[in-house]
Symmetry: C2
Subunit: 146 residues, 2 copies
Amino acid sequence: MSDTNDSCVLCTTPGGAPVWQGAKLRVIRAEEPGFPAFYRVVWTAHSAEFSDLSEEDRLLCMQVVAAVERVLRVQLAPTKINLAALGNMVPHLHWHVIARFDWDSHFPAAIWAPAQRERSPEQEAALVARLPEIDAHLVATLQPWS
Amino acid sequence: MSDTNDSCVLCTTPGGAPVWQGAKLRVIRAEEPGFPAFYRVVWTAHSAEFSDLSEEDRLLCMQVVAAVERVLRVQLAPTKINLAALGNMVPHLHWHVIARFDWDSHFPAAIWAPAQRERSPEQEAALVARLPEIDAHLVATLQPWS
């Protein structure tokens, strides 16, 4: 598979707010409405599936996913972390790393399911206020993989 | 965190059709209506989050996830593989490994989203007919981690 695909949105754009760029992958903030603490680990090369990566690259990828997860847990104490690599619409390997809270609009359903309740502007705003600090922690934590 | 939790469905039941049992984790077939080729990699100990595992255990876990993914790809040539560790309802680490097809009821949406179309009994039946063979390939492939 070629390294870049000119018609792929994750090959041609950051895919969200850039947070950290490593040698083989990057972390972006997804900026999905209702889920402020929603990050993505995006593999740089245009590979569709996790098992397209070498064992070494899969290890690197999941080290970064686990590091992002750990920062979110330590900083935000979410109810649950959700991890997912779907890629049905954008078949370029990217891991969703989402801090979920029992007050969020969809909990305990998946974020792709119908909403369970109204959004909470106050609690979302409190999370949004933490994002610059979270992003800084991510950059510091991910430094070994830069 | 203790190794077992008496009120956890993945501590007290297989959680699906047993396919393979390893020293630290197992593979089950989820038996979710509409998605015959839907497997789960279930960590044996009652850990909620991926980052609760040691680096060594995370590597083992994702080696098995990638091995299941590869068997599904080689045997079924799905449109896409979906991987997810959510656990909002059952906070015991389990990885969904789902072979998705462009004809399935939800594609390209996530399986947790509203359906996009009617189910296809004929195509589902053709997949179901392959499951004993897929399960056998999984058992053979996962032997190194038994």
